[in-house]
């Protein structure tokens, strides 16, 4: 691991000007520093900044401080009641130890688990070493993207929380060298294109302060359905975040986003449109599932995810619908 200096921040205002790399829980950054993939010369620990770890309702908005721990948000009773898709996306991620360490802001910026990216210099990887090529394109692609890939990179965005946030139309409050701004979570991550090393639209030093989620009629009838190789403590093979607004069996509005199969959190308006205005049954839910994967381009070893994902979307829609009947 390269040498670096370590400083603790006392206020958010001080962060953008330092030129140092932000570290929160460190469960992504320190991990990748141990692998010499991340090599920051200076770390600024933001978890010592007071007042950014709260979770609260403000009107029809659920507001998460970027430094709140995954475990706190996952078990927050109001989050569970008003917007289960958010709580479930966190509870089904990582382990309790990691959820105690990791923050909601850092979670959004976690990096791919592509084994060629993580496991080092023997493999070409445009994300790790721009211009070197992509080992996954000709290699083992079981864990790689069916949606949003490019000639340069087909790495999956591995997170769960961002997928749920994209389904819920969430917004970030940012503070950067050029001041404060807001950004939809859906606009945070870039497609890989020909520069897969650039993963987000954040500027250097720009800090996520808060995550705001509008929770109106849509929220309660929601779920995060995650399919894994083992029952717990694994990244998604495929996941579906679904939220519905229903009236007497008819879908007024549907939100559907996919995880584990795309290069960024992947909202599927095509699938949402299948449900809107129609009476829901399992056949219609499956139709939405098929629409969600209509644009999928499977590689050599991940074709099974088209079928698995279609079913996962259908199951998630039915789970969410059942919740709309709860008082």
């Amino acid at each position: 691991m390269q040498r670096f200096t370590y400083t603790q921040a006392r206020s958010a205002e001080a962060v953008p000007g330092t030129g140092a790399r932000i570290i929160a829980g460190g469960t992504t950054l320190y991990d990748l520093m141990k692998l010499d993939i991340e090599t920051p010369a200076a770390l600024l620990d933001v978890t010592t900044i007071p007042g950014l770890d709260g979770i609260a309702f403000a009107g029809d908005e659920l507001v998460f401080g970027a430094l709140a721990r995954m475990s706190d948000a996952a078990e927050h009773p109001e989050v569970l009641r008003r917007c289960p898709v958010l709580a479930e996306s966190l509870a089904k991620a990582a382990s309790q130890q990691l959820r105690n360490m990791a923050t909601l802001g850092g979670n959004l910026l976690q990096r791919t688990r592509c084994p060629y990216f993580r496991n080092g210099a023997h493999y070409p990887c445009n994300k790790r070493a721009p211009g070197s090529g992509c080992a996954a394109l000709e290699g083992l692609d079981r864990g790689h993207a069916l949606l949003g890939g490019s000639e340069a990179c087909i790495a999956v965005y591995p997170g769960d929380w961002a997928v749920a946030l994209v389904a819920m139309d969430a917004t970030l409050d940012l503070l950067g060298p050029r001041g404060a701004r807001s950004l939809k979570v859906a606009a945070l991550h870039r497609l890989p294109g020909d520069a897969p090393q650039q993963e987000t639209v954040l500027e250097p030093g720009e800090m996520i302060l808060r995550i705001r989620v509008p929770v109106g009629p849509i929220g309660r009838a929601s779920t995060y359905h995650k399919i894994r190789d083992r029952e717990s403590y694994a990244f998604a093979l495929v996941s579906a975040a679904v939220a519905l607004d229903m009236e007497q069996g008819v879908v007024r509005e549907a939100r559907i986003a996919l995880g584990g199969v795309a290069t960024r959190p992947w909202r599927v308006p095509e699938a949402e449109a299948v449900l809107a205005g129609r009476r829901l049954d399992r056949a219609l839910a499956l139709e939405a599932g098929r629409a969600a994967f209509a644009a999928a381009r499977p590689g050599r070893h991940n074709g099974f995810k088209v079928v698995l994902g279609t079913e996962a979307v259908a199951d998630a829609v039915m789970i969410a619908a059942e919740r709309s009947q709860r008082p």
């Binding site: 040498r3 320190y30 991990d31 382990s95 990691l98």
Partner: protein
Amino acid sequence: MDDDPAGVPPAISPCLTRREAGLGAALVAGLAPAAAQAAQATPGATLRLVLRVNGKAVDTMVDPRTSLLDLLREQLHLTGAKKGCDHGQCGACTVHLDGRRVASCLTLAAKAQDRRVLTIEGLAPPGGALHPMQQAFIDHDALQCGYCTPGQVMAAVSCVREGHVTDAAQIREYMSGNICRCGAYTGIVAAIQDAATRMREG
């Protein structure tokens, strides 16, 4: 809380790491150098760290790259927490930081500044009975090689305190961060159910 057991000696002296101990003859007598000397012996140790480990004050110098796990094992010689993967994937390194379970391998030691760390060594008061969870692991044969056990026990104590022990399925879910290559899971779940009752009884 029992992160800070009463009646323990006031300080842990940072000792030389095994690597350092292999480096020079001056170290033959160097069983417990003061923090400043340790800093000289390790050129990268630029960060002063003050924390409490198992109720004892620790004041030491670390290289900023040091993980909490390496601080515990290599500098403080608390080798209960184990290094399985060093990447947050196995749970063998689980300790409590300010009362919450964490993976110490992915925790920068620097993050423990002014905080309380509890390791398996500090779980039961010295000289007394084992913690109910430790005893339950023995009673239920919840281990074979034992490598994962300190991490399992520390995670299990948290699992009970968090209230995640309503049934076997919930225990399995909230213990999934601790891998046991010997496959002692059946015994582990039974031990936690048993210890949960005993911990509640006090």
